[in-house]
Symmetry: C2
Subunit: 503 residues, 2 copies
């Protein structure tokens, strides 16, 4: 069964899909913006299925009447006809997040963000613009230095990658074209925590901090930004409590993501308050609805705790209602438990147990008979392994594939459910729950040096990792066209350098 | 002597040089904007000479005090320091022209132009935008048709090339991605004259008109636009006197060029009124000044007429003051006459005379002795061959090379002047006057068909001419980088088509 049994309508305020992991490269022209985007229509056309697409923003979801309200960007040429609504049987929300300003004053007005293609292009434009301004003959040296002070807020992967890109751009390209300005450039990275790249292994963090120190990038740890002004950014240093002001020509704000206003509105409608994103179950279905799904940065999976269900798990497993679980009974449900509660699996791996039976074994006994109290005790720690998934493209992409697969196999799985036992209910779940498979994460550090944390805590740092990065990012491109363009851009950069034309 | 004996300062409101002949290709993404631009600093750096560059607009020329006043684009970050002035010994004005609206109401507000890179990009953005809007589910068919009505005003090479590009884009790319809209697209070309491409040979004009008719491009000859509205353009048909209104989604205005306001201001200062551009002598020196030069679209050469100087020419030639010119005397000045008055040469070639002696020969006499009256009579028609040079990149480029050459050889030529005799004064001109060498002109007509008019009235039309166009435009690129990029873009388009992402 192919997806052409559905009538699909895609609504997006842009008419292209952007490969966002390459956006930091777009900011300095290492890769062109057009090389990381693919028109939605060209993607849907290749699917061979008739998919409607509208370039519009969804501003309201009416889940009572199964309707979404959309608006094409306002334009006088349409004379009020830019509003329309779409009825749905199923709704998939994948609206992403937006930059989180933590309500810091001045951020929205004076800082640049790095979530959308046009934001990346604006940064590129501004960088070159600042060099041109700093070249004006009328400007005193102090002013030149102010203009060429670049401040990056947030030491996560995006902020670090941008700082590294900017440093490379200045060193490799701008220093040749603006030789007199080279010494006035200053890059400052403000991180509120104790280290940059703190979601990475300590070895990577250390390497990155040392490399940035060698590169002359001023990394200020424990710096909480309290205000962004037009020409100045103010931070509070945690250690000393001191307030420090740094003049800037440009601030790039990259401190993680928050929920978009439309999503917040919808969360209110559903009674989901005080959550950072739309809460879904493990099948990506939005809690409080039965035909709305959410994935990517706008959603978060509310993984059911084992401890919440411990009584029903035990009673489902204890088929003969003896109040005791023996090995045979246990073996029959162990697969379902692991399917339904992935934290169990992670816990076992972490503690180097080969299967769940090891968890229940008392010393070296070969037979296992446990009661509910013992069962509870044995599983009491597994929930500690529950983690929110990171807000990365990797997670979103896997969720997209998972959900498409579910829809494509909906009829089949209605008849032959393939999911785990419903411990609280009867029968089985139609599908296996979504399971994220972490394939590793890169942190490009500039100068052809990249760090990577691969599954199993493998660490790889250096130029060979940069080449691994090149090949992974090439293979992840959405089309052969963009693959060809991205590789072409890298080649062009090696031969001719980056373009500094202010377009 | 290299140009490093000069202290050179370049002022330009953009920090890049754009290869404008490819702008029509940029409008539809056949070629990317970045592929046709090269940063000024990268060009000046390659020269090996230290050249200052400022990204600023020159808003005033003070020729009394040899000073130009410049302003970097206004920005709060500079706090008033965006103004500066530069003293000069020599000034070269090469500010180009601007689109001529003939003061037609609404053009400035509602039409697109095609002179700058950002204008070409705006057209590209608008074309895709119109297709996206026309796809909205809420829109009735009539509205879709209005949005997809593209009107091009001006049947010169730029207007024709844009119409052809747009037609190809719709046919080759958009028809695939927006199959339901294909039939609603309408391209209309309004030309006030009797034919499109009227500066070309009749065979080319005919071919182009026939091709456009086959392509379904509605060419309306003798249509004078009287008003451009937001959604409607109004034209007067010369033959019937009727006023016709055409609804439009986009109007592209391409009816030739006019003078920029700063140039007009400077012309007033010099007393050059009622002229379409800065008037220079044949050495590109601005009339009424002795250290200011002008070239390209902002300038026009005031070629001295033979008839104005006929008396002094005769007396300079008549060395022995006999009142008669014999062959020997004549031969001594003929080279100077042809150098100083290029129209003579053009006249001879046009009338298939092998040298100027033929002009003076009475029937088959071998010896020539003429008096002033006969001399006047014989040369009376040569001035008819004087023509203003076209406002093309070809002319501007040749003028640039010529002027650079003059400056580089200034000292040498002061000592050993190489120009023609000064007929009105004494001695010789330092340099030969600028002489334009027409290498031919292309008119791309879409569908891999190009027409070319080559020197000697050679005409070439078809696909082979398209390939000639590709090779000439490749060779004319300003750097190896852009050459590589432009060819890459053409290749990409053949393989993957044009990108319709709205960036």
């Amino acid at each position: 069964m192919k997806s052409n049994s559905y009538d699909i309508h895609v609504v997006l305020p842009r008419n292209y899909f952007a490969f966002t992991p390459l956006l930091p490269s777009v900011t300095c022209g290492t890769v062109e913006a057009r090389s990381v985007v693919e028109p939605i229509r060209s993607i849907t056309r290749k699917s061979g299925v008739n998919i409607h697409f509208s370039e519009a923003e969804c501003y309201k979801i009416d889940n009572k009447n199964n309707k979404v309200y959309c608006r094409a960007s306002k334009d006088k040429k349409l004379g009020g006809q830019e509003d329309f609504s779409i009825d749905y049987d199923y709704l998939v929300i994948a609206m992403g997040g937006r930059s989180n300003t933590f309500n810091t004053p001045g951020v929205q007005e004076h800082a640049h963000f790095l979530k959308e293609v046009d934001e990346a292009l604006k940064i590129r434009h501004t960088v070159v613009d600042l060099f041109e301004r700093a070249s004006l003959p009328s400007l005193p040296v102090e002013e030149k230095k102010k203009l060429l002070s670049f401040v990056v807020v947030g030491g996560g992967p995006t902020g670090v990658e941008f700082a590294a890109e900017l440093h490379d751009f200045v060193l490799e390209d701008m220093a040749k074209l603006y030789p007199s300005l080279k010494d006035y450039v200053k890059i400052t990275l403000l991180e509120a925590g104790d280290h940059i790249l703190n979601m990475f292994d300590k070895r990577i963090t250390e390497f990155a901090e040392q490399k940035f120190a060698r590169d002359g990038i001023d990394v200020r740890l424990g710096s909480m930004v309290v205000k962004v002004g037009e020409n100045e950014i103010t931070a509070k240093e945690r250690s000393s409590g001191q307030i420090v002001s740094i003049p800037h020509g440009m601030v790039v704000w990259s401190t993680g993501i928050g929920a978009r206003p439309e999503v917040v509105e919808f969360m209110k409608q559903l009674g989901q308050v005080n959550r950072r994103a739309l809460v879904t179950d493990e099948w990506l279905r939005v809690e409080g609805s039965d035909n709305i799904y959410a994935l990517g940065d706008c959603a978060t999976i509310n993984q059911r705790r084992v401890m919440e269900d411990i009584a029903v798990i035990f009673s489902k497993a204890d088929k003969n209602n003896s109040g005791k679980l023996d090995l045979q009974e246990f073996k029959e449900v162990v697969g379902d438990i692991i399917d339904r509660y992935p934290q169990v699996d992670i816990y076992l791996k972490k503690n180097q147990m080969k299967d769940m039976a090891s968890l229940l074994k008392k010393s070296q006994e070969s037979n296992i008979i446990v009661d509910i109290e013992y069962f509870k005790e044995a599983l009491s720690k597994v929930d500690s392994q529950m983690k929110n998934l990171p807000a990365t493209a990797q997670v979103a992409a896997q969720q997209g594939v998972y959900l498409a697969n579910c829809f494509n196999r909906m009829e089949e799985c209605e008849k032959y459910p393939e999911g785990p036992l419903r411990f609280r209910g009867v029968g089985r779940h139609r599908f296996r729950p979504f399971r994220y498979k972490h394939l590793g994460q890169f942190a490009p550090l500039g100068g052809e040096q990249t760090a990577a944390q691969l599954p199993g805590d493998w660490i790889s740092i250096g130029q060979s990792t940069q080449w691994l990065w090149y090949s992974v990012y090439t293979s992840k491109q959405v089309s052969w066209r963009t693959r060809f363009l991205v590789v072409g851009d890298w080649g062009r950069r090696f031969i001719f350098g980056r373009d500094s034309s202010k377009i």
